[in-house]
Symmetry: C2
Subunit: 97 residues, 2 copies
DNA sequence: TATTGTCTTGACAAATAGCGGCAAATATAA
DNA sequence: TTATATTTGCCGCTATTTGTCAAGACAATA
């Protein structure tokens, strides 16, 4: 599975020469979880994003956006009507704002 | 909660002078489920859409699109970064196609 | 007002999906 | 090889979802 957030995390983490283990322990989860997150086997919980951003000294909103995009992509993956649904929702969201 | 699919179902069902009970029994669920679906308290399962379309003699793809849009809207509801995430995913989906 | 039929609501149970941990397997480096 | 880092599969627990049931609200009619 493709994951924008996972790719970004790995980018930030390696740039900081941080080990999976170190990021994991600060986030208070097992190392394997982070490995899976970076490779797109797992999704982080929404509530973990702020702490993650803090640890990586990254912009919270950027990571939250990527997280959301991953959720959406997940839901649309393989759906023939994905494009149509996106159009509808985009219109709907804009109206609400 | 707002629901595009629920509104459409009610529209189609009442136009056919069908009772909740009748639609429910054909879909093989309790009447209360349909009531909740139409009012946006519940979501149908994706797998139920084709049968639903058949019962209501509606276009499957239309109902699937509305169902998907409801899921997306649900996910984006109250998310500050909703707009940004939508943009990202729309781009991503187009590329994949 | 009582009755009947439809729809709605809330409490509960069963089924399902998702998260996290562990441990074994694999990769990378020294 | 040895040591360290990462990946992978599986399992248990929890949270969420789905459905049923029964009671309540509502509307039309006698």
């Amino acid at each position: 599975m493709i994951t924008k957030l996972g790719a970004r995390i790995r980018e930030l983490r390696t740039k900081k020469k941080m080990l999976l283990r170190q990021l994991a322990s600060q986030l208070d989860v097992d190392t394997s979880i982070i490995s899976k997150v970076e490779r797109g086997d797992r999704q982080l919980k929404k509530e973990q994003i702020p702490l993650l951003a803090q640890i990586l000294k990254a912009d919270v909103e950027e990571l939250q956006t990527l997280w959301l995009a991953d959720q959406l992509y997940n839901m649309l993956q393989g759906e023939p009507m994905a494009g149509e649904a996106l159009k509808l929702v985009t219109k709907q969201i804009k109206k609400t704002k």
